[in-house]
């Protein structure tokens, strides 16, 4: 297990009080249905504090209630990042167990939302790094014109949905976008994921990833440039 994942419970400091409205802000670039969902989750803000305190006293029911506040958002993020429900479930399990073991060390220096997202994103980053290492060993073939290509890239990517109703066109499009996203560094991928697909403010992205808003912004620029390059013909 990498050091940054272990360090989570002890590095919860440095969050600005402004990010308390974080759950309400999410979804700015996504559909209104999900925005409503996130806003609905934010209603429990006051409850969170008391639930965390109860959980810190060893009340498991309170912790399970906290899990129910956040677990759908956690699963949504993990599924979209890993493209695999089993792996997402593993991340979910590991994240909440880690949170349970360390909740006594949570000192309210940032919202519980930021804290749990930090644990989840650390685990997802580990996952992405491992996947990248595996990809480096991926089989490479040479096509008729003599250029090398990744054999795995030719396999249709059906991760996003497994939805038979979705037509072939959009499935292929999804596959191409997924492959372009996979070429980003894990950190770029994470920043882009949180900003574009989960609608978090860059300030919050910075806090979740233990960095500054400026760094998150620059990472987003880099990720966007790479994606534009990879998907140039689709524009």
């Amino acid at each position: 297990m990498p050091a940054d994942a272990l360090a989570v419970p002890f590095t919860v400091g440095g969050c600005s009080p402004r990010e308390r409205d974080v759950r309400g802000e999410a979804g700015s670039t996504q559909d209104p249905k999900r925005r409503g969902h996130m806003a609905g989750q934010s209603l429990g803000r006051i409850d969170d504090t008391m639930l965390v305190r109860e959980a810190q006293r060893g009340n498991r029911a309170a912790f399970e209630e906290l899990v129910r506040h956040y677990d759908q958002a956690v699963l949504r993020l993990a599924i979209h990042l890993t493209g695999n429900e089993h792996e997402a479930q593993d991340i979910y399990q590991e994240a909440f167990l880690k949170a349970y073991k360390s909740v006594a060390n949570f000192r309210f220096e940032c919202s519980f939302y930021t804290w749990i997202y930090r644990i989840v994103t650390n685990l997802c980053l580990d996952h992405l790094r491992r996947r990248q290492v595996r990809k480096e060993d991926a089989p490479v073939a040479t096509d008729a014109s003599g250029e090398q290509y990744d054999v795995l890239e030719q396999v249709p990517d059906v991760r996003a949905g497994n939805n038979p109703e979705r037509d072939l066109m959009s499935r292929e499009l999804g596959g191409r976008i997924n492959r372009a996203l996979d070429r980003l560094t894990p950190r770029e991928r994470m920043v882009f994921e949180l900003k574009h697909y989960h609608g978090l403010k860059l300030r919050t992205v910075g806090e979740v990833l233990n960095t500054t808003e400026e760094t998150a912004k620059n990472t987003l620029f880099r990720a966007t440039q790479k994606l534009r390059g990879a998907l140039a013909d689709m524009r």
Binding site: R53, K101, A104, G174, H196, L202
Partner: protein, 311 residues
């Protein structure tokens, strides 16, 4: 120059991340500059293309099975917090102590306090060593750091309460509002400011039907350090002396042990309708014989004299 700035910021514009003034400036420029307007169009299109990859909601089955799996794992997992802090943190504390005398003083105080706390828990936990966990039924108490003020608008039933959580917040609502009630209950029990306790107890006496409210009033009567608050709580409990034995016991306790003669006198008056009750009678006899306060002694005798003899 301006175009460069716009091209750098058009992505943030699309993501709604520009501050208002920059946003306005950018929009002004876009209206005039076709090149930059084209850049915005491209960026928007790119944004739309990427949004084709949708974020799927996890299926209810997946959510349910994940929760079950987690619950099973939690059964066998213990929280590391307390021991972890005890075992790992001293090294960190020592490191920080070197650089910060103020912190070391704080750590000393915390250590002292947690020592007392731990002893308390062990003593109360009994042989099994179980640490008592407060029920979740009134968990809001833990989120409220303190009550600052309570006020009621004259002529309406609107009550304003200022209380601290992480920051000061204000709750408004009628006395029937559950949140307001919770805050009042918290204020009645826990606030350091006796004026606030007085206000909250006063408001709670307007609606003493709920068991939580009655419990809070009994608590105030028994343990509040301010006689005014105790007197107010007593007033609110008056109507329940007959019907609720717990109220009667609390009032009796007040009558016997309260340090303030005013509270004792009031308690005595409240017990008048139930003077025939066995426990009340016994207390009255005790008071009539040997109470230090002459007035209470005389009143107790009076009440006993008015009582029909049973034997």
């Amino acid at each position: 120059m301006k175009c460069d700035w716009v091209k750098e910021n058009v992505l943030l514009y699309v993501y709604n991340e520009l501050p208002d003034d920059a946003r306005y400036e950018l929009e002004q420029h876009l209206a005039r500059c076709t090149d930059c307007a084209a850049e915005l169009k491209t960026t928007r299109k790119f944004h739309a293309v990427l949004s084709e990859l949708q974020v799927e909601e996890p299926s209810p089955n997946l959510v349910a099975s994940s929760r079950m799996r987690l619950q099973e794992a939690l059964e066998t997992t213990s929280q590391g917090g307390f021991w972890q802090r005890l075992v790992f943190d001293p090294a960190m504390w020592l490191r920080q102590m070197r650089v910060s005398p103020a912190l070391s003083a704080a750590i000393f105080i915390i250590g002292f306090a947690s020592g007392i706390g731990a002893t308390y828990k062990i003593v109360n936990g009994g042989a099994a060593g179980a640490i008592s966990v407060p029920a979740l039924s009134a968990p809001s108490e833990s989120s409220v750091a303190g009550i600052q003020s309570i006020s009621q608008d004259p002529g309406s039933n609107q009550i304003s309460i200022k209380y601290n959580t992480l920051s000061t917040q204000e709750a408004q609502g009628s006395l029937n509002d559950q949140r307001i009630q919770q805050l009042l209950l918290f204020a009645a029990r826990n606030n350091y400011n006796s004026g606030v306790r007085m206000d909250s107890v006063d408001l709670l006496t307007q609606q003493p039907n709920g068991t939580h409210v009655r419990e809070a009033l009994i608590y105030a009567l028994r343990y509040d350090s301010n006689p005014g608050v105790r007197l107010k709580a007593l007033g609110g409990l008056g109507n329940y002396v007959k019907s609720d034995p717990r109220v009667r016991d609390a009032v009796l306790e007040g009558l016997m042990n309260d340090s303030n003669p005013g509270v004792r006198t009031e308690a005595l008056h409240l017990l008048e309708p139930v003077r025939a009750d066995g426990s009340v009678r016994a207390v009255l006899q005790g008071l009539a014989e040997s109470d230090k306060n002459q007035y209470i002694k005389a009143q107790a005798r009076n009440m006993l004299a008015q009582m029909p003899e049973f034997d």
